[in-house]
Point group: C2
Chain length 405, copies 2
């Protein structure tokens, strides 16, 4: 098999040190406690280089000595673990009915997970960003009060995000052309760290790849649910973004032209069949008796309760929803051959009843043998997109750049 | 926007030299004639490094001095161009009705393009590989007779290719589990260069990215036609392969559940609507009067002739085919946000009549604004997959490794 190579980049000794710093840091993250000799043996770097890099990483408080020695043949060795305690990053998530903040340290330990109910769709984007700024300030305050320095933050939005961090379209929020990154940076008065914006689907996929049950696999898709359905695609270990950063729009995949009408004007799009409003409409025909549903979470809880009590109508409706989800996943599988498709949000909440039918449909519909080895699973992460946002904000440090002090 | 990084790799001075060799080689390929000073200025490498690398590249006959000097302020400079004349690579392509061989030199100049009519579907895979070996030997003979050294070869197959170069499934050829790479290597008696196998869709996408009208863009899809439809996906400058190398199976994308039956058992798959047999069946209802069509190329020529004479039935049938193609491209566009989708084979032959309708449908069906900027165009390359195979076989030299002498 052949790879097309990206443009080769000129390399100098500074780049080499950055790259090797990243190698050592990654080795410690994955294999701690480990000794300098372990690092040299496992990475192929020579011992003098490893010693020099470790000394610098200790000075920077990215790595620390535990003083422990492992039982081993030969001389006892000083063991190293990731420190990174002085460094943190934030992930924010704008949902239709809540704002979420997560902070983690460099070791991936959660420092806080805050959810604030907020009816985003009933107020202007400006008001939402004002609330988000307030939440962000409080989170920064909490993190810095413990002596940590924030290295960056990333906001997840359920919609399209352009390379400048603006949101041309977020149907689930009713947003068009909102310059999220620029407004948040201004509101935080240029905070001295990077402020990024990305789609919740991309950030959730990043969180899965780093912290989820399938952490470390190189080809996966995360499907976000709720009012709309989105895909975050990791291919060969990298987020697939496309030419303008809009990749992952799976919500209007045509599944059943005879299906219910979609907000987009077509019929039977994936969102119109398996999005949370469609599921509520199918399983709880009485839900709209008193007018349109505004808050879907109580309805989702009702569906879960009925499914737990083996309500036959709800069970058969969930199986039908699962089959439609499986048809969408089969298209993803044939096109992208992921090792895993991980579903979040209401798909995860309903997974025990959705996934058996979805997996059968995937096996029947995918055209690559054995669905290309693709596993279809529910996410086990809490606030995946916000966690992914915080993870993304640590990328420069993990790539070997020295942290903001 | 944030990238997930692949695993950082340890770097040493040898790697640095390889990487910088690739940088210089690429600069000369894209900007020749250029001077050593130009290279230093444009790549950021220092002049001593550039001089040392250029000296080595000249010794290796990868670069040569032209002796020309450009008009410029200051001292005249010796100009450099890509040499690479001593180095060649081969691409082979196994089609349902032909075998193709292409050879290029390192500069991308075609040394030969051979097509041999061969009814692959009527003989065993072993017989086909025997014919392919004979064709390959003759091509190697032709190339080496001119004093060139073959650096590698890559075979394109219209089907699934696994990482070992075996073909688990190629519907268009009627193949299952054929170890193409192993058999060809054995038949060529371990030729001392790399023998690779890839899908024709992947290789055609690589050819487009390097030699096509959209050369250099980082996100594109090439759709291959003929008996089946396949997608080669380039994302962020790299071929997207997926976990087992099976990505790009677009032939059974469900487009119209009320459409004609597909060989897979479903109805209205993309192949069943816009594959060459479906197009012939739709536009030339008399074609099957004397039994099943075996050779589709004369039928394709008849369709082109009728379209040129404005036959109303053929024109409306092509417009309908174009709309169905456009629906498939809209799915690709929403999911992958490519900058261009380039269609080859019978889609390219019929492009003047297919693409206007396909573009309208794409604009109407894609959900990202302006179809995410995606252009839908016909390939202008001859024997794209074989050309891509030869290009792929030069990848190691282009990545800065020294050539096989």
């Amino acid at each position: 098999m052949i790879s097309i190579h990206n443009e080769p980049q000129p390399t100098d000794l500074g780049d080499v040190r950055v790259a090797n710093r990243a190698v050592v840091l990654r080795h410690v993250r994955l294999h701690a406690p480990c000794s300098r000799a372990d690092i040299a043996a496992r990475t192929g770097l020579n011992k003098a280089t490893v010693s020099s890099l470790v000394a610098e990483l200790i000075t920077q408080r990215l790595v620390r000595e535990t003083g422990l020695t492992e039982n081993r043949v030969g001389r006892p060795a000083t063991m190293l673990v990731l420190d990174g305690e002085p460094y943190a990053a934030l992930g924010l998530q704008i949902g239709a009915d809540e704002l979420v903040a997560v902070a983690i340290d460099l070791g991936g330990n959660r420092l806080l997970t805050w959810r604030r109910a907020f009816a985003t769709t009933t107020v202007s984007p400006t008001e939402t960003l004002r609330a988000l700024t307030a939440l962000t300030r409080r989170a920064i305050g909490r993190v810095t009060a413990t002596g940590r320095t924030v290295q960056g933050l990333t906001v997840g939005v359920p919609g399209l995000v352009d390379p400048a961090g603006a949101v041309p379209l977020a149907t689930a929020l009713g947003w068009r052309d909102v310059p999220v990154a620029a407004e948040l940076r201004a509101a935080l008065r240029d905070p001295g760290f990077a402020v990024g914006v990305d789609s919740v689907a991309n950030l959730a996929a990043l969180a899965e790849q780093r912290h989820g049950a399938y952490a470390g696999i190189t080809d996966l898709v995360h499907l976000t649910g709720g009012l709309t359905v989105g895909a975050g695609i990791v291919a060969a270990g990298r987020l697939l973004r496309g030419g303008r950063g809009f990749a992952g729009e799976i919500g209007h995949l045509p599944i059943d032209p005879a299906g219910p009408p979609c907000a987009c004007g077509a019929r039977g799009c994936l969102t119109a069949l398996v999005g949370l409003p469609a599921v509520v409409r199918r399983l709880l025909p009485d839900a709209e008796a008193d007018g349109p549903v505004v808050d879907y979470l109580p309805e989702l809880a009702r569906i879960v309760a009925l499914a737990r009590h083996d309500d036959p109508t709800v069970l058969s409706g969930l199986a039908e929803t699962g089959r439609q989800l499986g048809r969408g996943v089969a298209v993803l599988t044939d096109l992208l051959n992921p090792e895993a498709v991980v579903v979040g949000d209401h798909f995860a909440a309903l997974a025990p009843w959705l996934l058996p039918a979805a997996r059968s449909e995937l096996a029947a519909r995918a055209h690559v043998p054995g669905a290309g080895g693709c596993r279809l699973e529910a996410s086990t992460l809490d606030a995946a997109a916000a966690l992914g946002g915080a993870t993304a904000a640590l990328a420069t440090v993990e790539a070997g750049r020295l942290p903001v002090r």
